[in-house]
């Protein structure tokens, strides 16, 4: 992988809820931090996220959920990417009760960003998750 290439990040709402304030802010601040952001927006399915990840050759997927369905939908996003042979890390944002965070991490989610995280934390978490994923598996695509 070309180290000079900016990080390409896909951000999406998965499921039905329309709370996109956080997602839009994250999209802008990742752009300001030099990432290339693909904003998929509302009501994305696991299939559409995987398809877009392939088409856009993204380094990381950020999914936002405020619908209480994170325990079902976040692992499904991870599984769908892995089933397509992608090692792309998945970061979850939104309303996630603290007790659910270890469950999501165990299901293969790279990190969970809850309400009130700072801009620096968002950017650092995304960079770290992307870097770890790159070091684990050599990416040859």
């Amino acid at each position: 992988m070309d180290d000079e290439r900016p990080l390409r990040v896909l951000v999406a709402k998965v499921g039905l809820d329309g709370h996109d304030r956080g997602l839009r802010i994250v999209a802008r601040l990742l752009r300001d931090a030099g990432c290339e952001v693909i904003y998929a927006g509302l009501r994305q399915s696991t299939d559409s996220i995987t398809a877009t990840s392939i088409e856009e050759d993204v380094d990381l997927v950020g999914v936002s959920m405020h619908n209480g369905a994170h325990l079902t939908l976040a692992p499904a996003v991870v599984d769908s990417l892995r089933a397509a042979g992608l090692n792309t890390p998945v970061v979850v944002g939104g309303i996630v009760p603290p007790a659910d965070i270890p469950v999501l991490l165990a299901a293969g989610v790279a990190a969970v960003l809850g309400p009130g995280v700072s801009n620096e934390e968002v950017v650092a978490t995304v960079r770290k998750a992307a870097a770890q994923s790159n070091s684990e598996v050599p990416v040859t695509r």
Binding site: L16, R21, L29, A40, G114, G116
Partner: protein
């Protein structure tokens, strides 16, 4: 002064609560203060409140939003809320229901009964309100795209339980415009969606004299990140758009305007929020009289529900949210709200537990019973600061109205549509929300526990767990209903919906009520409408 004696007459003719209107130390209090020639509450242009006597006659309705799991689960929470002194019910539907998707729709996977109650058929609605007298309780239903089919179900429950439709009291949100701007729970394109809104308004005007068929909502606009002035202006502009749509549908202004109600956010900037509520009343009165020709006083009086700002709640040190909610609720009361929902302190973590929901209600009761702020109407009226802020917000809102009218060549309905279609509202809100986030990032605005005073965030409180079996139970009950209903009747009802949808002047409510009776699901009714109306997709702008 004539104005003063008019107000005095109105006040004297208003009922009074059994309470002593004096300070804790016994100083007697007047119902309102100001020089003799000052505007009084209940007087044009209603800056100081819609009613002459305000909370001396009747406190605001303490209306706590609740809903989760199956209809049985929510029914139990409703009965608990009524027992602990809540006097209105407020229904939260789950995401699939809000989007007009049945529990067995593949898109509903994982979301059934999660963020609200799942309603698929009339049977669910019957269970939701079982042992509750629809003729005496006031019910709010927070739903927009499928508002018409849900309203049809509610009316059907009343019909079945022998409650006269004319006795039904409550509100259905039915405010589709702010969905395209902020909350994003849309299904059909804006134009046919507004037709559904006016169908419910026409039905209510004819049959439900005590019902509020649309609650024009700024709450979600603010939650999406707007400023106070944007919340004020976008909301009232949406209100003007519905007025223009209803007039075009053949209603006369004083026939429906008295039943329009509003729903605002109470955020953390105390005086700005109070000024916003005061400005809203004054703007509405002026526009309804001067632009739309309303003459009935009730058409001019803006009445509103308030909810404290969910977005102001922090996941860090969540108990601190109790303090935030109390301050925001106080702003709503000082601003003269007619009903109030106080958020629970754990809502940045999960749906509220029963314990947290009770504390939220207790917060309202403390304000009502212990602080004395209910004795005097508009206690901040006449404050140079608050009056100036009220004028400033009104001025900013008028600037936004001018932009919308220009976009609509003089029509607020067309201007609102145009600015939905070109993404203007979304862009404005996204800019404001990003600017506020930058203030937080740079420490120009301190949020306690988040970017200041962050130590001591130790023990997260226990959060509400939704039983994962809810989805399975709901799916089983839906499947049983689908197997036992009369399939021919279902087909006929759905055909009728499509036919009526294709005739723009036919009111869809009778066909939707007939469908509800035949156990047609919310999703089936919505797909029948969608086959005629089409589907709306948001332009992907970040």
């Amino acid at each position: 002064m004539a104005a003063h004696s008019e107000w005095q007459n109105a006040y004297d003719n208003s009922p009074q609560r059994a309470a002593s209107f004096e300070t804790m130390s016994g100083i007697p209090l007047q119902p309102v203060y100001g020089p003799d020639d000052a505007e009084r509450p209940g007087q044009w242009p209603y800056t100081r409140g819609p009613y002459a006597s305000m909370y001396r006659s009747r406190l605001w309705t303490m209306r706590q939003f609740a809903g989760f799991g199956t209809a049985e689960d929510t029914n139990l929470r409703f009965k608990e809320l009524l027992r602990s002194g809540s006097d209105g019910l407020s229904t939260a539907f789950d995401m699939p229901t809000l989007l007009g998707r049945d529990s067995d729709d593949p898109l509903a996977n994982g979301e059934v009964g999660r963020a609200g109650v799942a309603i698929d058929t009339l049977a669910d609605m019957e269970v939701l309100f079982s042992d509750i007298d629809l003729g005496s309780v006031s019910t709010s239903m927070t739903i927009n795209s499928p508002a018409a089919p849900i309203m049809a179900m509610y009316v059907s429950v009343a019909d079945e339980t022998g409650v006269d439709r004319a006795r039904l009291s409550g509100t259905i949100q039915n405010d589709i415009l702010k969905e395209y701007q902020a909350q994003k729970e849309f299904v059909f394109p804006p134009r046919p969606s507004v037709r559904l809104v006016t169908d419910v308004m026409r039905f209510a005007a004819a049959e439900l004299p005590r019902w509020h068929p649309v609650s024009i909502s700024g709450y979600h606009i603010r939650e999406a990140g707007s400023t106070a002035a944007q919340e004020l202006a976008f909301t009232l502009a949406n209100g003007f758009a519905y007025v223009e749509a209803a007039l075009a549908a053949g209603l006369s202004i004083d026939e429906f305007a008295p039943r329009l109600s509003f729903f605002f956010n109470a955020h953390m900037d105390f005086f700005e929020e109070i000024a916003k509520f005061r400005a809203a009343r004054r703007i509405w009165a002026r526009w309804l009289r001067d632009r739309y020709g309303a003459t009935d006083g009730r058409s001019l009086q803006l009445r509103f529900h308030t909810q404290t700002a969910g977005v102001s709640l922090t996941a860090q040190q969540p108990e601190v949210n109790l303090v935030r909610v109390a301050i925001e609720a106080l702003a709503g009361v000082l601003g003269g709200t007619q009903s109030l929902h106080t958020d629970s302190f754990d809502e940045a973590l999960a749906l509220p537990t029963e314990h947290a929901a009770r504390l939220a209600l207790r917060t309202q009761q403390v304000i009502a019973e212990e602080t004395g702020v209910v004795h005097v109407a508009d206690p901040l009226g006449g404050s140079w600061f608050v009056e100036s802020l009220t004028d400033e917000l009104e001025g900013q809102a008028e600037g936004i109205f001018a932009h919308l009218l220009e976009a609509g060549s003089g029509s607020m309905l067309d201007g609102t549509m145009a600015c939905i279609e070109n993404g203007w509202f979304i862009g404005e809100i996204a800019d404001a929300s990003y600017q506020f986030q930058s203030k937080l990032a740079q420490g120009e605005w301190i949020q306690v526990g988040v970017n200041g005073y962050a130590e001591g965030d130790d023990n997260p409180p226990p959060t509400l767990k939704i039983d994962p079996a809810v989805e399975t139970r709901q799916l089983a009950s839906l499947s049983a209903i689908k197997q036992s209903r009369d399939d021919d009747a279902v087909r006929r009802a759905l055909r009728q919906i499509s036919l009526h949808a294709a005739e723009p002047t036919t009111n869809l409510m009778p066909a939707l009520i007939e469908a509800a009776r035949c156990s047609v699901t919310v999703g089936e009714s919505m797909r029948a409408l969608e086959s005629v109306f089409g589907t709306w997709y948001e332009r992907s702008v970040a």
